[in-house]
């Protein structure tokens, strides 16, 4: 007689046959195959079987469930058996998820991030600090929940097996990736971040402060980055307001000095009003002439003297506003590198785009932004955020004679020292098609990571950058598809089609979850009208319709390894392999276009940025398939369509080979060139790389070179084993006296508390 059973946690409890009966009844009812009487019959059979098998011993839960399954089948209840099996498998999945969740939290709490690859999933988060750890715990729990309840079994399987990677999976139930914030629209009339109203800013300083606040506020509503597509245009308004006030103030003060009085505001304002609003772009003789005429009319000052005062005031105002703008940009950059958003764990992922505003105010913004970028942070450190993107456009800044050519030249000097700005090319045909002169919202901007949202299948009247971003992205493990195809091209494409279909449907499922949210779930992004058309919604409205402006991106990784697996060589090794690679991505793009046309949703192909992902797929494939030379023999897969980083190739050739893929990857793309420090600081060499990108039809490009810094002596440049300035090695100490000596020659050597 069976008296007891052994539970999964090892506890021994009384055997209760009615529990089996209940489970059987549930299965029968679910399959509509029987009732309580039938359940009793099946239970009886199972019990008899158990007695036969175990006699006086204690079966485990698993053993009992095996017998129940068999009993259902042997009594002809196939459907009920299926239901029972599925239920059992689901319970197992949930149990395992709970265990792995607890294990993950254990690792988060107890393991130093330096030892834990999981804790270094995102280089921007300090996994060792308490806020970072809490963020990771929350993320782990969310992932477990989302996996259990929000994915179909097919999707959960593909994700956990490493066929696909669902990015930002922890945020699956909550929000979207990113947004390009139109600051001009946001600032007009002021805005709120949830705690009090911020009036429309009236000076360049407040414009810069509020820009940082806007980025932080929006970062609290989304899981990805925040971009400003019109940084120059927007902050130019701040410069204009500052200049008007400063001109007025300088003139008033000059008059007060001249007359030796306390308050000449009435005279000043009346005189200026005759001319209009002072601006940096005024025709001076005309504007200042009118002001001087008016002052002379008062009879208190002669015309010549008045003219002189007005002219001096303008000069001083120009200098002052320039200084103010510099300070504002410096403060902005410092803010974006130090404030922590997202549970106090990381700074917002911010990007700013500029380059095409030719107004004097816009140019002043850009000069000072780049100067501040060049200067670095408090001890000369390279600012990591925001990412700066310079928008290159023929006729505006690309060629000598273009109004902003000087800014383009300067940008390259700065980029050679500070790795920013990166370059977006408005003249690439796939970008140029949207461009309307005089309409900055039609200038392709990018999130620093490379996300690009411009075309709009859902609303072709609004093919603009402002107020739009990515909804979510999921990447396909291309090399695995190749490995499984075993060199059979046809089989590869068939499996690729299946996988793209799975991903496209998963992206849509995720969109439906996002769509059911309300404006009140996004107090800033929607509540303040940042997302396109969200200003037409009320606080309780669902956001599904306006979200359709966003992009759904099918990503990929490892084209190079895919080609090696299928054809023996990657696309840097010969035209025939390049053609094969191009064909694959073209095929993907055709699929996305077709699905977009069918659904009127903005499906696109993304050259996935891939941080944690770069190792995840490779590790799993190594485990499953072993080491395959050229495919799984490294710790990572090559990013998107890039030529492998280790492959020796000339910059020019790399650019030629990668550029055509930019056109295909409409959801985002980038090409990098690696230069050594010397080449990077050779302005001609640097410019030739950028021009080569432009000519090849690159959409977004960037130059990498080593930028090292010794925090002790402040040296910024290339450091091998020994610092060229102070001679110390990594981790080696140096005497304060030696530092003091160095400081005489290099004033930027930092001072440290407690010494001298």
């Amino acid at each position: 007689m069976i008296q007891s059973i052994v539970k999964r946690d090892g506890r021994v409890v009384l055997y209760d046959e009615s529990k089996i009966a209940r489970a059987v009844l549930k299965a029968l009812e679910a399959a509509e195959e029987g009732d309580a009487a039938e359940a009793a019959r099946v239970t009886n059979k199972a019990s008899k079987q158990l007695e036969l098998m175990f006699k006086d011993e204690s079966p485990t839960i698993e053993q009992i469930q095996d017998v129940v399954e068999r009993s259902l089948m042997e009594t002809g209840h196939d459907e009920a058996a299926k239901k029972y099996i599925l239920y059992r498998a689901n319970r197992t999945r949930i149990r395992e998820a709970r265990t792995s969740l607890m294990k993950a939290i254990d690792e988060i709490v107890n393991v130093d991030a330096r030892e834990s690859n999981m804790k270094r999933d995102n280089a921007n988060i300090d996994g060792n600090g308490s806020m970072g750890a809490m963020l990771q715990m929350g993320a782990s729990t969310a992932k477990a929940y989302n996996s259990m309840y929000l994915l179909t079994p097919e999707q959960a399987e593909a994700y956990s097996q490493g066929d696909i990677h669902i990015h930002d999976f922890d945020f699956y139930a909550l929000t979207e990736t990113c947004c390009q914030i139109d600051l001009i629209k946001l600032f007009h009339g002021g805005f709120s971040t949830g705690h009090g109203f911020l009036r429309e800013p009236q000076s360049i300083a407040s414009y810069a402060a509020l820009a940082a606040i806007a980025i932080q506020a929006n970062q609290n509503d989304q899981h990805g980055g925040q971009g400003i597509p019109n940084f120059d245009y927007a902050l130019a308004e701040g410069v204009a307001k500052s200049f008007a006030r400063t001109y007025t103030r300088k003139l008033r003060e000059a008059l007060e000095d001249y007359f030796d009085t306390d308050d000449e505001s009435e005279l000043t304002e009346k005189a200026i009003a005759e001319a209009g609003k002072p601006g940096l772009g005024d025709v001076r003789e005309t504007f200042d002439g009118i002001v001087a005429d008016e002052l002379a009319k008062s009879g208190r000052i002669d015309r010549e003297k008045a003219g002189h005062l007005v002219s001096r005031s303008r000069q001083r105002a120009e200098k002052q506003v320039d200084r103010d703008t510099y300070q504002a940009m410096e403060g902005f950059i410092h803010n974006l590198n130090t404030m922590h958003s997202r549970a106090g764990a990381q700074t917002p992922f911010s990007s700013i785009n500029y380059g095409t505003d030719t107004s004097p105010e816009g140019r002043m913004v850009m000069w000072n932004t780049m100067k501040a970028l060049d200067a670095g942070l408090g001890h000369g450190e390279t600012a990591i955020f925001p990412i700066h993107i310079f928008k290159v456009k023929e006729g505006v800044n690309y060629n000598p004679g273009d109004p902003n050519y000087d800014l383009f030249k300067y940008s390259m000097e700065v980029s050679a020292r500070r790795l920013f700005p990166n370059y977006v090319f408005e003249d690439a045909p796939f970008n140029l098609q949207y461009y309307k002169p005089g309409h900055p919202e039609t200038e392709v901007a990018t999130m620093g990571c490379r996300t690009r949202v411009m075309g709009n299948v859902y609303d072709p009247e609004q093919e603009i950058a402002y107020g739009r971003g990515n909804l979510s992205f999921t990447s396909i493990n291309l090399p695995r598809l190749a490995i499984l195809a075993k060199g059979d091209e046809k089989a590869f494409y068939e499996s690729l089609d299946k996988m793209m279909d799975l991903v496209a449907r998963q992206l849509m499922d995720r969109y439906h979850i996002q769509a059911a949210k309300h404006v009140y779930n996004y107090p800033f992004l929607m509540g303040q009208g940042v997302w396109l058309d969200s200003d037409k919604l009320g606080p309780n409205d669902e956001v599904g319709e306006v979200l359709k402006h966003g992009s759904l991106s099918i990503g990929f990784i490892g084209l190079a390894e895919t080609l090696v697996s299928l054809y023996g060589h990657h696309h840097g090794e010969g035209k025939e392999y390049w053609d094969k690679g191009y064909a694959i991505i073209k095929h993907m793009r055709d699929f996305a276009d077709k699905r977009a046309a069918e659904t009127h949703m903005n499906y696109g192909i993304l050259a996935t940025p891939a941080e944690g992902l770069s190792g995840r797929f490779t590790r799993m494939d190594q485990k499953r398939f072993g080491t395959i030379p050229g495919v799984t023999d490294r710790e990572y897969y090559t990013n998107s369509f890039h030529i492998p980083v280790w492959y020796p190739i000339k910059a020019y050739d790399k650019i030629q080979l990668e550029a055509p893929f930019h056109a295909l990857c409409n959801a985002g793309h980038i090409t990098y060139v690696e230069l050594d420090g010397d080449t990077a600081n050779n302005t001609e060499a640097f410019e030739s790389v950028i021009r080569c990108m432009h000519d090849a039809g690159v959409g977004y490009g960037s130059v990498n070179h080593p930028v090292d810094r010794d925090p002790v002596c402040g040296y910024v440049g290339v450091i091998g084993d020994v610092c060229p300035r102070c001679g110390r090695r990594n981790g080696e100490p140096i005497s304060p006296e030696k530092l003091a000596e160095l400081r005489k020659k290099y004033p930027s050597v930092p001072k440290f508390c407690g010494c001298q």
Binding site: R114, N124, F420, G615, Y636, D708, P711, S735, P736, C755
Partner: protein, 48 residues
């Protein structure tokens, strides 16, 4: 007796900062990179 201890040396255990670009953004120190990206950075060659 000096109220403040003077430091006899500076910079012990202070490493060099190596700013590198990772998937589009800069990270000031490679301590925080995951193993795969570290491996990739090691493999990077220069393009002439």
């Amino acid at each position: 007796m000096a109220a403040v201890q003077r430091q006899s040396v500076l910079g012990k255990d202070v490493g060099f900062e190596r700013i590198r670009r990772i998937t589009g953004y800069l990270v000031g120190t490679m301590d925080k990179w995951n193993d795969a990206k570290k491996a990739e950075e090691r493999d990077r060659v220069k393009h002439m």
